[in-house]
Every structure is written in structure tokens, then in C-alpha cells.
């Protein structure tokens, strides 16, 4: 497992849920403790030379593993799509190819669309842009979500529009980032959902931060897809 730094530090529950889901599916999971970061923040800022040692460290740590799964579309895209731009050595290319986003791994590699979860709430889904456009991960999270028992799926209007996070974009161009987030917030309200879910908690940090700031939307919660897919599992149920 590749657990991005912000999940490790601020949303450990996502990693925990992921471990439990994979455990139940009989997938042997390892978390190499020497991992740090994929290098995306420096890369997106143009500082490719500075990101190179971080990328190499990543590839060294993950070299022994066949499948590297991450609960983040944007970090996975960095590994699979952008690592080769910075470093096209064999060591980097080999690892780069093996990184998968969690929902894509479940659906495409394991053939799983139902994790046996129950979550009787009104939920809308936001799909992160890197996952959607760089990796083609779009149907996967939706399929998984729609198998959850008791869940009311509320379609998000203008779902394909970027939420405005964009990593460092959120603090380098805050006015524009917030304007984009405002539209996303309005669409979430229009969807009637109580909870916004995504395969990218990074987007949700920004969306959630805005929802919390506004008393009118403070009640709307953010959750990662893995947490919902781990919810309400009856003991002994195998999917």
C-alpha cells in the first residue's frame, strides 16, 4: 500500500478501511514503512530536479512489490503518468507501471464491485480530475458505490467540473480556487446529499474545508470511498 502523507497524518481511517477491505477479500497487504511521498507537489510546481530524489526513494521502497495500491487518484496519476517525465530509468519505469488507484484495483484487477457494505445515507460522489482524466478512473468508484446497501445515490450536477483544489493551486491562486470550490459547494447542496464521497480526500479537504466554513453547509460530511465500502459490514459476510 502507498498511503499518501495527508492520509497518513490527517485521515488514517481511510488507510485502515482499505486494509480491512483487502483483508476480507483475501489480499495480502503490506505497508512498507520507509515510504514518504510521490513527489507530486514539487513536480506540479515545476521543480522536477528537486522531486527526483523523492521519486527515486519511492521506487526503491516499492521495488519488491508487484501491486502498489493507493487510495488517491492524483498520487497514482503522478506515479503512473508523470514519473517517466522526470526519470525514465528502468528502476523508475518498472515501479511506475505497477501503481494503481484503489477503486481501479478492486474493479479491474480483482473483479470486485461489491464489498458487502451497508450505508443508509444520501451520498453524492465527486470524482477527482487526475483520476478521471489521467487514469480513466470514472466508472470504477461509481460501480462500487452503487453496490452499497441502503445507500441513496444523489447525482452531483456538473460532476465533471474541477473542484478547484489542484494541490498548490489552492494556496497559490486562492481566489480562483475558492470560486471553483464555491460552484462545487452549490452543486453539492443542489444534489440533496448529506455526505460527499470521493476517491480523492485531497479534493475533499478543500471542499470539506469550505463546507465547514459556511454555517449553512456545516452539516454535510466528507468521506473517502474506502470508508463507505467498509461500513456496516456484517461479521462473516464474504463478497
Amino acid at each position: 500500500m502507498f498511503i499518501p502523507c495527508y492520509i497518513d497524518q490527517f485521515y488514517p481511517g481511510i488507510g485502515e478501511a482499505m486494509v480491512r477491505i483487502l483483508d476480507r477479500l483475501g489480499v495480502p497487504v503490506v505497508f512498507p514503512a520507509e515510504q514518504t511521498c510521490c513527489g507530486q507537489p514539487a513536480f506540479n510546481s515545476g521543480y522536477w530536479e528537486e522531486s527526483r530524489p523523492v521519486i527515486r526513494q519511492f521506487c526503491k521502497v516499492f521495488a519488491p512489490y508487484r501491486w502498489i495500491i493507493s487510495p488517491s487518484g492524483s498520487c497514482t496519476a503522478m506515479c503512473r503518468v508523470f514519473f517517466p517525465h522526470v526519470d525514465s530509468s528502468e528502476e523508475v519505469l518498472t515501479v511506475s507501471r505497477r501503481v494503481f488507484e484503489f477503486s481501479e484495483f478492486l474493479v479491474d484487477m480483482l473483479g470486485v464491485t461489491d464489498t458487502g457494505a451497508t450505508f443508509p445515507h444520501k451520498v453524492t460522489m465527486h470524482i477527482g480530475c487526475h483520476g478521471r482524466r489521467e487514469l480513466g478512473v470514472f466508472d470504477h468508484p461509481l460501480k462500487l458505490l452503487q453496490s452499497v446497501r441502503g445507500l441513496t445515490y444523489c447525482e452531483l450536477p456538473n460532476m465533471e467540473e474541477c473542484c478547484g483544489f489542484g494541490g498548490t493551486f489552492s494556496v497559490k491562486m486562492p481566489g480562483t480556487s475558492l470560486a471553483m470550490g464555491q460552484s462545487k459547494k452549490e452543486n453539492i447542496v443542489r444534489s440533496g446529499a448529506e455526505i460527499v464521497v470521493s476517491g480523492d480526500i485531497s479534493c475533499l479537504m478543500h471542499i470539506g474545508g469550505m463546507l465547514k466554513r459556511d454555517p449553512a453547509t456545516r452539516h454535510i460530511r466528507i468521506m473517502h470511498l474506502a470508508e463507505i465500502l467498509d461500513a456496516g459490514i456484517q461479521p462473516g459476510v464474504r463478497s
Binding site: 514518504t36 511521498c37 515545476g46 480530475c129 481566489g175
Partner: protein
Amino acid sequence: MLDSTSHLNGAPFLKDENQGLYEPSPRFKNLAKVCEYSSKSNTAVAAAIPYFQEWREAAHQIKKYSLANLDKLLVQFECNMKARGVEVLFAQDAAEANRLVLEIAREHNVKSVVKAKSMVTEEMELNHVLEGAGIRAIETDLGEYIVQLAKQRPIHLVTPAMHFSADEVGQLFHEKLGEPYSAEHAALTAIARKRLRAEYLAADMGVSGCNFAVADSGTVVVVENEGNAGLSTSTPPVHVVLVGIEKIIPKIDYLPLFLNLLGRSGTGQKLTTYTHLIHGPAPGKKLYVIFLDNGRTKVLQDPHAWESLFCIRCGACLNACPVYRRVGGWSYGWVYPGPIGSVLTPHLVGLEKAGKLPFASSLCGACGEVCPVKIDLPHQLVHLRHRAVNEPSPMNSTFERLQWKLWAWAMGGPRRYGLAMWAVRIGVRMAKFLPWHPDKLGAWTRGRELPKVPSHSFRSWWQERSSKKGKS
């Protein structure tokens, strides 16, 4: 804005306008709505065509081939057009192109020029140059006519006056043209029609751009909806075409593909109202074609940047871009706005001036998804970001580089990582006690709450779990 010596040098890069990128203006609310609607309907149109993705790929390959053979194709085009009595000229930069146009105008005793829309002439700021030489230059595309009267730059590639309400146009026509005020679209259009007809009939020269310059047949292709290009280029005795060198395509037989892509990506139309395939001058008329380099050959030095020259100026990326929708065209500081502007402007004007533009994006990729010639715009943007921080540009910052070096050091191993994250957690916890949040922290908390700091990290949970299970 322009001093007397620099007026020939083309459109200046307006650095101060870039402020608009950071703070969207409420005046562009209409722009956002219109772009969103256009983008959605054009996407639906494309999705309904089973061949659309194949078309995009075919167009991409043809454009790549065209650039790979650019010199041969330019010569072939020149040869074919010359054989029909067309004068084909070349200009290295905007200044030279302006001089060539002035020479032609002098030769033909031109007092007034009617102009069809051409982005290349915006690069040249041709209108200013002509006015400076005492020649009247009238934009004939309705949107361009409006912004010309208002002395503004266009806000959008395809709909230049999108930010004007009908009321504002009515007031403009009343003030500048002395026409009775009206906010009715039909009445306003009728005013423009009446005024511009008089101009077409009196003009000594017509200037247009060119959507595709076809090498093997020697054809200038111009597409439009209003009829202003048809009129501008057929009423006056002289027609001058300004065209970027990258607009060349090798074969006339490729044209149906590009026409099918351009209309749909630009305006959701199957074909624009008028598609002109110009072979040469009509008897008794004179036709000139001026090819402009203006920095395009510099782009060819970098094979990774070639794709930016595939652009057919459809405007689809603008409509799709969540940033452009909110900040409008002026914030990009130069002729080309939106995602393609963020890529082309640094290439043509230089990173030293325009280095900020590639950073004005969340890298969402909506632009690359709709580009009819499959320019991977997000990849072009990150490539330019890399160049911007390493070459002379406003984004090349030793301070920021040091910060990233420090960050890379912190990410060098689990212990350093742990130390850095401990500091971050403390910072986030303490933030609520600070009276004011500096710099990036303030940029975040300006509109968002910070996340809660949980009692444990994933790592510590995994450690505990592993030691419980006796695994490592």
C-alpha cells in the same frame, strides 16, 4: 500604452492584467454560464458521433506530419499560389508583417481597410499600425466591431464581446455611432449591418486570417458564420491574408476531416455558414498571403512543445476551462486566452514575460479532453512550468527552490518525514490560536477550515496492528 517607436512591434504582453487570474471578477458571471453551456452541448454533439475520437487522432497525426515537413510544405504552397498570380510573402516577426501590410497599402493607395477576424493580426496589433499610418481599419466581425468601438481587447477567441450585455451594446452604439439607443438584439445587429455594408463598399483593402493553408492545391481556407469574411475579401480590390506558418496542412483531401472537427469543437455546428476555399484572386483583383513566424520557429526547437502548434483556434479549451470561465480573456495578458493561451503565450512572447501563465491552472485536464487535435494541454502546462522555474521568468525563485530542496530532504526517509509531519501537525493545531495566518496558511484559511488533527497516524495504527499480529 504604446510609444511611437514600438507601435510596429505587435501586441505588448500586459503583465498587470495577470492579476485577474488570481481573483475572478463577478463581471464574468455571464461568460461562465455561456462557456459552460457551450462546452456541455459541444461535448454532447461529439459523443453522438461514433467516429469523433478517430477523427481527433487522425487530425493529430496529420498536424504532426505537417510540422515535420513544414519547410517543404511552405515552399509547395508558395509555388502553387504564385502560379495563380498570388504574392506570397514571409515575415519573421510582427514588426515586419506590419511593414509588409503598410507597403501593400501604400502601393494600392489604401485609405480604409475592412478586417475579418484574425488572431494573427491581433498579434501584430495591425489596426493600431494602420491607424498610425492614417488608414482607417474597421473590424467587421460583430463581436470584434463591438470591442473595437469600446477600445477593448476581445474576451474570447470565438465570441469576442461575450461580456457585453445587449444594453451595453446599445449604449455603445448610441455613444460612438450616434444611433438611437436600443437593447434589442435584432435592432443592434441591423445597425452593425447597415454601418458595415457602407464600409465594405468603400474599402480599398480587405484583410483576413486563414484557418488552413493547403499546400498541395494552394488553397486558403477561411470559415465564418456572419458573411463578413466573404464580403471583406470580395468587395475591395485587394485581399491580404495573414497566416501563422503552423496553419499549413499538406493535402486538400484532408480538409473534410478538419472542417468536421472545427465547426463542432468551436461552436457545435456541423459546418459554419460560410466555408471559403480560396484558390487565388478573382480576375481584376489582387491577393497577397503573408506568412508570420513571430516565435513559432522557436517552438520547433523543442519537440515536446510541438503539439502547441497543432492548435486550430477553435476555442473549445476556453469553454471547458473552469479557470478561464471565471477570469475571462484579458487576464491572460496577450492575444490568446485560456489553456492554449497559457501554453502559446510563453512560447511566443517568452517565459521571461509570461512565465506565470502555465501556473494559472489546477491541471484538471478538461481542456485536453476536448481539444479536437488532441493537444495534451495539461502535459504542455507542466512542461512549461518546469522550464519556467529553471529559465529566466517571474516563477524562477531561489527561495522557492530552497523550500522544495528542504521538502525533498524531509521526504528522504521515514524519520525525517516523521519529524516534518510532526511539525505540520503542531502547526495545524496551533493555527486556531494565531490572530492572523501568514502566506500559504492564510491563503488556505481565507475560505476553508483546516482539517482536524487525529489522535494517531496511519503509520502508528499499522505498527500497533503488526506488533499485535506478530507480523512486520
